[in-house]
Structure formats: C-alpha cells, structure tokens
C-alpha cells in the first residue's frame, strides 16, 4: 500500500526537469509582466529565452526552496516503507474516526473478503470469537419463540371454545389465515403503561413516558432501582454477566427490559403482550441509539438535550391492543357448557363407576363371605367328618367282638384295622350308619373268636340247638340254660359246656330239668311196668286183660299229650316174647304177632299208631330163664318201652 501511495505522489516530488517541463517563454513573459506591474513605464521586452538560464533555478529556489526541502523530507518518509507505515499508523485512527460513510462502503468489500478468507482458512477462530455473543442471543431468541408459541397456544386454547372463538375460527377459514394468528390479532390485550429510557452507566433516567391514567412512583428512583436490580442479578448469578433481567412479572404487570449499548429501555406493560411487542421495543431502542448515539454516550444527568426521545417512547405507549381492553373478556359460555357437560359426563361416569365399584366391592365382600362361609363349612364338614369318624371308631371300640388295633387318617383316607368276631356287628353297616363317606375308609379286619358272653351264647345256640323247652341267657359272666330238656340234649349240652374256652363264660345247665325225671318219668315207668301175658301158642292176649290194656292206652295217651306240651316226643315200642317151647323162628313170628295184636288193641283204644313201633324178641329175652311152666307163662308176654325224644 505504501509503495502505491508513493507512486501516486511521485509527480509532486520529482525534481523539475532542468530543461523540459517549464514553458520558459511563458515564464519570461510572466516575469516581464510582473516587472511592468512594478514599473508601468518600463518598456521591457522579453529578450529571448535561453535554453539554460541559471537565474530561473535561482528564482525557483528563492520562491519554493523551503517547500522543496519539505517535499524532500516527505519523499524520504514515503519512499521508506517502514517510516511511511509508522507515519500512516499515527494518523490512521483519526482518519477513520473522522471519515464519512464512504469509508465504510470502501472498506466493506475488503473486510468481507478478508473475513471470508479467514473463515475459509480456519472457521474455528470465528466460531470462538462469535460464540459468547451468538449463543446467548440464540438462546434468548429460541426462548422467546417458545414463549410466544406457548402464549399463542394458551390463548388459542382459552379462546377456541367460546362463541367468539368459533367466530374467529370462521374468520380464519374465510381469510385463509392460521387460526392462531387470528386469535392473536384479536385477543392479546395489553397496554404499555410506562416506558423508561435509562442510562445504562449511571442508572439515571433519560426519559420517561407514561400512558394516560397510568400512575407510578418517582420515575427517577424507579429507574435507578431497576438498574440496581439489573446489577444485582448480574452480580449474583454466574453466567448472567453479559445479560440481565429481561422480564419481571407481577400479576398482570410485566416489565420488559431491552438493553442497548448506552441505554436500557424498560416498558411496563399491563396485560398479555405478544412477543412481537418485544421486537417493537427493540426497534425503538435501536432507533434511539442510531439517532442519538453521541448524546446517549455522553449523558451526564442532563436530559434536556434528549427531550426528543420522548416522542419515540410515546410510540411505545401507543402500543396496545385497541378496543380489546375496553371490551370485557368474552365469557366462555361454550367452555362453560362443555365443562358442564364434561362434569356431568365425568360425574355420571364417576357415579356409575362408583356404583360399579360399590357393586364390585359388595360382590367381592359377598364372595369373600361366601368363601369364608365355604371355608368354615368345609372346616365344619371336615370337623364333622372327623367327629363322625372318631364316633365310628369309638363305636367300633365299644362294639363287642371288634378290637380296633389301628385307627388313623392317612393321605385323606381313614384307615381302620383290627380283629373282628364273625358274630360281631358288621363294621360296614356301622360305617353306613355313622355317616362317614365309605369311599374314604379303608378297613382291614382279621377274624377271631371273642369270648364275650353274647357270642358264646350265640355260638352255643347255634351248636346246641336248644329245644323249645330250653332258654339260654347271660347272667353275669355265665350263660345259664333254663327249662326242661331230654336227657339226650342234656348230655350234648354238657359236652358242649366242657368244650368252652377256658377263661370265657361257662355254661350253667343246672337250671335245666331232665324230662326223664318227674311226672313224665313216672308215666314212663308206669307204662313200661305193664306186661301183657299170653297163653301158650296164642297170639292174642290172655283173658281178663282188657282193663290192663285200657289203662295202658290211657297212660300212653297221657304221656303223648304231656310230652307234646314239653316239646318232646314219646316213642313207644311194643316187643313180643315167647317161651322156649317150640322152634325159635316160630317163636319169633309168634312174638311179633303178639306185639301186633297189642298194637291193634291199643289203636282200638285211641292211641295214635304213628308213635308206636312193634318188634319180636322170640324166646331170646325171657323174664325168667327157668323151664318151669310158671316161668314159661311169665315169659309169654308183650313188653312196652318208652323213649322220649326232643321235638325236632
């Protein structure tokens, strides 16, 4: 740059060419002219001009010698780039400061190029430089945008359900504008009540404008205090040094602060301002800075020179949502209606739900009750079954002829085992009576003979078959037989009594009367005492025997009747006999015939023949073995034998 500047000024510094470059003729004429001015009467004429005239050089050094010297020095400076740089540097700042707008225009392309090349070489550097400035700005801008969006959303939501909201929706549809925009146009109700322009450095009030009917405290104090608060926040919170409070909010009163290089604009806004208002405030502040930069910078407490900014501030207080403030906010009937319906529906559903819940709770309670009841019943049932089981086992234990050796509950089953007399009660039958589920019972019984009198009695009754005249019963630890019995039964009974197991009940037969004794015995003896005599070789009884036969018949009938009453049967045997004269076979036949004759005679006298049997003994059973006639007469006879049998 210095070299080009030197080139530009070269013509000044060049020594005049000794011969060329000077119009010597014109110079000579000029000098003559000058001489004439001094001496008008002179008639001097330029007498030729010589090519080389040292006087001219003399004249030149006389006229501009000093300038030539100065120019010489200047030339040295300009020709030495180092010295020229120092000289220009000394004045450059002043030159730039006092330059007009053209300097900016001239410098802008160069600066743009320089910046562009710098960024191209190393973008990092520029990012580092701009970072502290740009990041808070971006943050603030994004924050404001988000605020704005939320505010719009809030408003939209608040308004979208009123009649007015519906009207606006229609308007949005009609005009093709976004609904949010229409809402914002209509709804943001605010009034800028005060605007303070505060000198940043001193906190002194530069200008204050208040809207009509807006009251506030001494604005000078307020502005200082606002500055103090800004300082306070900046000092108190790290990271806020480069910023400050941009919003203060108190109810529906907001303080929006816009900070400029020399002054801070604070707007006190009542209501709900749109974020765009901030942009307007920023524009006002920046316009004030543009217009009155110098005055703001040198402000020293005298605001008289800045009276005109009040007009700008008045522009701010004019910012308001026209008309909206005067009109009341639309009562959100639709919201009210919808809310009412919603409350109704929700309430109804709540009630319904509540009832369902109640019902569910009731059912749950009932189920729980039922379950408890079932559990209780189950427990009861179990207890009852166990009780029944225990009763059953007790009953088995008490049952004669049953010995319980094991009774337990295993794997849900009742197990009972032991010994059982076949004559004892059937455990299965007892089980059925007990009510215990037979499917749950496992029984194992081993047979044995019990010595209980009952069983012994039963067994005796089974084996002895006591005749109807005999009754067996238990008396203490004995079995007593009572009544009357034939000697045959008695004999069997005695045998059986002897066979009874030791230690068990004994059979007492002492109370049984022997039918062979007593009246039956007497009749028997009487009947057996009769002998029906026969004459020799005669088969009919001797004469005079009718009375004997009558008596015999009578006695037999009586015995038969008596025996029958005693559950006995009396069997009669008639045996014929002969003497020893004659052949034996004849005698045998004769003896049978004699017995038959007596039978017939007895039949004739009413004796039942089925109880009488006949037989012949011939000469083999004589009463007297002598061979005398009397002996032989005695031996010719029919004897009677009686046998008493139990009725069967």
């Amino acid at each position: 740059m210095s070299s080009s500047a030197a080139g530009r000024f070269e013509w000044l510094l060049r020594p005049p060419p000794p011969e060329s470059g000077i119009d010597r003729e014109a110079l000579a004429g000029l000098l003559v002219g000058l001489a004439r001015t001094v001496e008008p009467k002179s008639s001097m004429q330029p007498a030729g001009v010589s090519a080389v005239d040292p006087r001219l050089e003399q004249l030149r050094s006389l006229l501009v010698g000093h300038e030539i010297e100065v120019l010489g020095r200047l030339r040295e400076v300009i020709e030495d780039p180092e010295r020229f740089g120092v000289a220009v540097g000394r004045v450059l700042a002043t030159a730039v400061a006092s330059s007009d707008a053209r300097l900016g225009q001239v410098l802008a392309p160069a600066l743009e190029k320089a910046t562009e090349s710098s960024i191209r070489n190393d973008p990092r550097k520029l990012i580092d430089i701009l970072h502290p400035v740009i990041v808070p700005a971006i943050r603030k801008s994004v924050g404001e945008t988000i605020d704005n969006t939320f505010q719009s959303l809030n408003e939209s939501l608040r308004q979208s359900l009123t009649w007015r909201g519906l009207r606006w929706r229609f308007e949005a549809w009609r005009t093709g504008k976004p609904f949010a925009e229409v809402v914002l146009n209509h709804t943001l109700v605010y009034q800028v009540e005060h605007v303070f322009l505060i000198h940043s450095h001193t906190g002194l009030l530069i200008s204050h404008v208040a809207a009509e009917d807006a009251a506030s405290q001494d604005p000078q104090l307020v502005s200082s205090m606002l500055t103090a608060i800004q300082d306070f926040v900046r000092d108190s919170f790290k990271g806020a040094e480069q910023q400050g409070v941009d919003t203060l909010r108190l109810g529906d009163l907001r303080l929006w602060c816009e900070v400029g290089p020399f002054a801070m604009l604070v707007a006190v806004i009542r209501g709900n301002p749109p974020e765009e208002l901030r942009e307007s405030l920023r524009n006002v502040l920046s316009r004030i800075h543009d217009e009155r930069r110098q005055a703001l910078e040198s402000f020293d407490g005298d605001s008289s020179g800045l009276a005109d900014v009040a007009a700008r501030l008045t522009d701010c207080t004019a910012l308001r949502q026209q008309g909206a403030r005067a009109s009341k906010r639309g009562f959100p009937w639709l919201v009210f209606l919808v809310a009412f319906l919603l409350v109704g529906i929700v309430g109804g559903m709540g009630l319904w739900r509540w009832e369902i819940l109640q019902e569910q709770a009731r059912i749950s309670a009932e189920i729980a009750q039922e379950q408890a009841r079932i559990r209780a019943a189950e427990a009861e049932r179990r207890a009852a079954e166990e009780r029944r089981w225990s009763d059953y086992v007790d009953r088995l234990r008490a049952e004669p002829g049953i010995v319980v050796t094991e009774a337990a509950e295993r794997d849900g089953k009742f197990v009972v085992a032991g010994l059982r007399d076949p004559l004892a009660s059937d455990p299965a039958a007892i089980l059925r009576e007990s009510g215990v589920d037979p499917a749950r019972v496992v029984s194992r019984w081993q047979p044995y003979q019990a010595l209980d009198p009952v069983f012994v009695l039963q067994r005796l009754e089974a084996s002895l078959e006591p005749p109807p005249g005999v009754r067996l019963s238990i008396a203490g630890d004995r079995i007593v037989a009572e009544g009357s019995a034939t000697p045959i039964w008695l004999s069997r009974a005695r045998t059986a009594a002897r066979m009874l197991a030791a230690g068990g009940p004994a059979l007492d037969l002492s109370q049984v009367q022997n039918l062979a004794e007593g009246i039956v015995g007497k009749l028997r003896d009487a009947i057996q005492a009769h002998e029906i005599p026969f004459n020799t070789n005669e088969s009919l009884p001797a004469a005079g025997q009718d009375a004997v036969l009558d008596q015999l018949a009578s006695e037999i009938r009586e015995l038969t009747s008596l025996a029958s009453s005693l559950h006995m049967r009396a069997r009669i045997r008639l045996t014929g006999h002969s003497d020893d004269t004659g052949p034996g076979t004849y005698n045998l036949s004769l003896s049978i015939a004699r017995a038959g004759a007596v039978l017939a005679l007895l039949k004739k006298r009413g004796v039942a023949a089925d109880l009488i049997t006949i037989g012949g003994a011939g000469q083999l059973d004589p009463l007297n073995a002598d061979s005398s006639d009397s002996a032989r007469s005695l031996n010719r006879r029919v004897s009677v034998a009686v046998r008493l049998e139990d009725e069967s």
Partner: protein
C-alpha cells in the same frame, strides 16, 4: 425555565454509622430499608436547588459493611460523587470511610465526595481529634460533622456536593 439535572451519588460508610438515618429525614424515598439487606442498595433522592438549576441527587445508599469485599462495586458505576459517612464517636469508622474512599478512587478515579462525621450530637463521646479533621481538610477533603438528629451538616453536605458534581 429551571433546568433539572440528575446525578448519581453513592452513600458509603461502615456498619452502623447512621448513614441511612442521616438521609432519612431529608430525602424523598419510596423504597423500604429492607432493600438494603436484600438487594444491597436502596435508592433515595435528594433534590437541591442551585440558583436556576435543580439538581436531583439520586442517592444509592449502599449496604454499609466494614467488610470491603461485601460491597458491590458495580453499584458504584456511573457515580458523579459520593458521600462518606463515619461515626464521630468511633474512630475506626473514619478509617473504614477513608479506606472506602481509596477503594472508590481505585475503581472510579477521583470523584467529588463529602465526608460526614456523624453523631456530633454526642459531643461528650466524640473521639476524633479536631486536628485530624483539619488535616483532612488541608488534604482537600470536604469534611463536616453532622447529626442525623439535628440535621446539622446534612443539607450543607448535599448542597455543596451538588454544586461540585454539577458545576
């Protein structure tokens, strides 16, 4: 037409020197004293008329602490002058005031100031020798003894300071 100008004046002084009560009766104030303990500063205004001119002294009453570090220096920014207050019955507070002055001059350069030795109504407890005051005056200090109770020295101090900050 009167010309009104404003000047920022800081009130500085050690703990319990009567700084706040000194101005209480003579200034316009809208903020409560609780600002001192919360924000650390309380703004009052003292209007002084100097002939044709009206000077509004905007008084920044800074929370008085003996501990220098707790003083918010950013509050001093842009001050046209300041008032130093000390307690005449406690020489240590004069030391504090003078060190505050050094602190202010280090940050803001030399500024007009007034030094008030307060509580001069308690003459019997007065603990600062007259010689010392004379010496301060000789060194160029504007020094007055004052009383918040009687108001002595207060008006003078503000009027004089106003004249010096708004020549």
């Amino acid at each position: 037409m009167t010309v009104a100008i404003q000047k920022k004046i800081c009130m500085l002084g050690g703990f319990s020197v009567g700084k706040t009560s000194l101005v209480k009766r003579y200034v316009a104030s809208i903020f409560s004293e609780s600002y001192l303990t919360t924000v650390g500063v309380k703004i009052d205004k003292k209007t002084v008329t100097l002939g044709e001119r009206v000077v509004h002294l905007i008084l920044w009453d800074l929370a008085g602490e003996d501990d220098m570090s707790s003083l918010r220096m950013s509050y001093l920014r842009g001050s046209a002058g300041y008032v130093l207050v000390a307690d005449g019955t406690r020489p240590a507070t004069l030391e504090t005031a003078l060190s505050l002055r050094r602190r202010v001059e280090a940050d803001c350069g030399p500024l007009p100031f007034a030094l008030l030795l307060n509580k001069n109504d308690l003459r019997e407890q007065w603990a600062i020798p007259d010689g010392e005051l004379e010496e301060l005056r000789r060194s160029g200090c504007w020094v007055r003894s004052s009383s918040a109770r009687t108001g002595e020295g207060v008006e003078d101090a503000f009027t004089d300071l106003a004249a010096r900050v708004a020549p």
